[in-house]
Each structure stands twice: as structure tokens, then as C-alpha cells.
Symmetry: C2
Subunit: 253 residues, 2 copies
Amino acid sequence: MSDQNHCRDDDDRDAGGISDNGDDRPLYLRVRDALMQRIETGKWRPGQVIPNEHEIAREFDVSQGTARRALTMLTEIGYLTRRQGAGTWVQEDSPAVRYRFFSFYDKNNERITPDSRDVESTIARANSKERLALELDGKAKVIRITRTRTRDGRPFIAERLSIPEAHFPNLTNEDLPDALYDHYQKVHKIMIVATADKIDAVPADAPTAEQLRVKVGTPLLKIDRIAYTLRQKPVEWRVWLCHLKDAHYVARM
Amino acid sequence: MSDQNHCRDDDDRDAGGISDNGDDRPLYLRVRDALMQRIETGKWRPGQVIPNEHEIAREFDVSQGTARRALTMLTEIGYLTRRQGAGTWVQEDSPAVRYRFFSFYDKNNERITPDSRDVESTIARANSKERLALELDGKAKVIRITRTRTRDGRPFIAERLSIPEAHFPNLTNEDLPDALYDHYQKVHKIMIVATADKIDAVPADAPTAEQLRVKVGTPLLKIDRIAYTLRQKPVEWRVWLCHLKDAHYVARM
DNA sequence: TAGTGGTCTAGACCACGAC
DNA sequence: TCGTGGTCTAGACCACTAC
């Protein structure tokens, strides 16, 4: 705890607050991360109402303003929803949340929620591109997954992705749902909070053309994505090749 | 001013603070907008140091925390830069700022700053797509601009855009620089703070192929963008057709 | 009506930067 | 050393929601 407050009694440190354990970051960050952990580990479940800011302040032995700052940050990154007069909840686990990084919309500007098929996964030593993308050392292994994403039963995205095997033990033995980021969070306690996409247009090569049922040379949208955790660590590299008939990818700045 | 503060004297209202003038929004928003206006109108110029938060608080007759909140918001949207121990400045007018919405990078992940040529502009009654995109009524006029964006002298983007004539008087008589958003702000006091891009891959048609010096049918990246002011008003619709050899568009979420 | 989040204040100490 | 922004507190009132 900080000693900078002139009003508090320094003798009661660690009598209910969060211990500093060598963590000299500001209080609001420590409270934020402690609350975040409760959400990520499922102690506080989606949809659940959490204690009000007075109670949180008392629990961590900080002022209401500091607790509030932590809660505001968690609201901004989408972990929490707050409503004046009502309370604070963990963000609902809706399709809109599960697919919030799947930024494809149809011609009516409604979000597309895809299905998947032909899922295949293998484990291998990371190649040079994977080591660069995922910041891995020479001996690291990766899990490679390929899928065909479909929309109303028709293939529209050829997907291939790589993730560090060390972070996702046993993943190859699990049933993989369509929404992988959601799966990472629930099963592997890894939350994706940011992505960086490199985008270009490319002609379809022969295998991709067959996979997406288009002619060779058809213009495809290529999206090359790195996904990051809150600590800015890259944990997934994926490439999408998309044939978006009557649809589009949306980017906001 | 608010009456909710138990410590302040209600009789000194409007004796130096910001008047409410029917504006019942929170103080921090009123202070934010007042400061923003000074930046947008050029009263505070890029690179200039502005008064510290105590002085701003005193000027607007609010607490330091309230002034701070306004300053923090302006920092988050890129109007200001703050450095502990040093001070607060209006954001420098660098190429990185001028082209911050031009999100193209080369193969070394360095930002591309384009040139322009073959600029043409006309004024016309808005068509139905323009009325929809820019939220205009039936009689509104628009300025249409077409340009070829070049990189090291070679064309790589075919650009066409529409803006409401009412917001940009005399623009067709002005020398247009490469960075239009910067021009909008400096000359027309309209600041672009957000964009929404719809993205897809399309084959090059004949005129575009000639403009970009590629074969008909070459895959092009198509970016369909609406640009918004801080008040969420759409003020520009632009379409880019891009042939990105050894480059890519970047989107972050 | 009770309880929640939202706004606001006054004032303290700390970390950092310029001199 | 002095001035700046950054953190933190304690406590007030307001606006809204659920009961």
C-alpha cells in the first residue's frame, strides 16, 4: 500500500487491503488487475452483479475514487457494464461479445456470426515466421489449426492459425468451438484484448480456390492478424483468406 | 455552474468561470469543449505549452480534479500531450499526426506517406448514396474530389471522395494539400476524430486499371470510409481502390 | 425510499523534468 | 530546487433505478 496518504494509519497495512508483494504500481492498477483476475478465472461470472464501489473500496482498503478508477478502466475495455442506479455486472456472454473481434458485416450492416468445418490441428516446431510473429525462441512448439469458416453453410473464409503450445496445453484434444478467443479465455485463462490486422487483396491460389469454391485468381481479402493479451503479449497468429460476397470487413479508428 | 458543491459560494457564479448558457452537461465536458475550441480555432497552436491544470481550474472556477478530467480526455483523443514534470502541449503537427488516419505500412512496417496528383474537384447535387452516407437532405450539394495517390512517384491508390458543400465553402478554389483532414481542421475548423472503413477485395475495372497501371481484373483492396467529427457527424465519404505492392493496410482493435 | 453509479471538491503527497 | 503532472483520499450532492 502507499504511504502517501496523510489521513490513513500506516499500521493497519495488509489488514484487509491488497498486499504490495513487490508490486509498486499505482493502487488503481493493482485493484484493476485483482478484479480482472476474478473475472478471468470465473470467480465472477458473466451476467453476475458485483459489489458496489463502496464495498470494493473497503475490501481493498482504498478510497472510493481509486476503486472507481479501476472499475472505470474495466468498463472501458469491456469487462464490466455499469448503469447508474442499478449496479455493475460482468459483461454478458452474448454472441456480440464472443464474436467482437470477428468484424465482418453483411450488406445490411449486421454482424456475421460464422460457423466452422473441416477443423484440423497439428503440433510442430515453430518456423521462423511463427517465431517472429509470436516472439518465440528456437525450440518452441506451436499448435497449427486450419478451418473453413462458413456462412449459411457456404464457405467464405479459409483460416489458418498458430498458437504457442506452451500456453495452450491439451488444446489439440479439446472440442474446439467456433469462437476461439472465448475458448482461450474459458479453458486456458488467456484473454485476447487487442488485435492488429495487416490487410491486402490477393488472387486465389488453386487450393484456396477449391476450398472457397471460387475460380483461381478471384480477388480475396487477406487478413494477417496478431492477437494480444492485456500485457501486450502476442499469443495467436492467424491468416484469413476471405471471399466476401455481399459483405465486408469493418475497421474503425 | 453546479450547485452541488457544499464548499463553494453560489453568489460568485459567472465571476470568471464558464457560464452555463443553458448547457446542463457536466462541468468536465464544458471545460473540455472550451479547451478544444481554443485548439480548433488556433488560439492555442500545435506545439504550444498550455497553462498547467491549477491555472485552468482557477480560470474556469472548477476543482483541479475536474480540470484534470477534461485535460485527460483531450489527451486520450490526441489533442494534447502531457509529460510529468514538464507540462502540457497541443499535439505537434508532425507527418505522423497529419497522416494518422492514413493507415498504410510498407514491408518494413513503416508508415507510408503518400503524394497526390491529378486532383480534380466538382460541385453537384448529392446523389442518393451521398445523402445516405453523409446524412444530407434532398437539396444539399456536395463537393466531389478525385485524386491519384502515389508512392515514390508510382500510383497505388485511386481515390474519390464527397463532402457536404455547406461545411466546406470555397474549398474548390483552394490549393488542396495531400493531407486533407489536416486541411479541414486548419482552414474549415472541422476536425476528423474517427473513421469507419468497410473493406473488401475487388477486381480492377478498366479505368481504374489504367489509372493504377495494372491489368484489368487485378485484385484491389477497396476501402469505403466515412469520417466523423467529435460530435459523431459524418462529414466525408471516400472510396479507395488500392494496389498495395509490398505494403498493407493496418487495422487495430 | 433506499441504494446505486456519476459528478465534484479541496487538499495532500509523490515522481519526474528543467534549471 | 521548484514547478509540473500523477496518485490518492474523504466526503459531499445529484440522477437514476428498483422496490
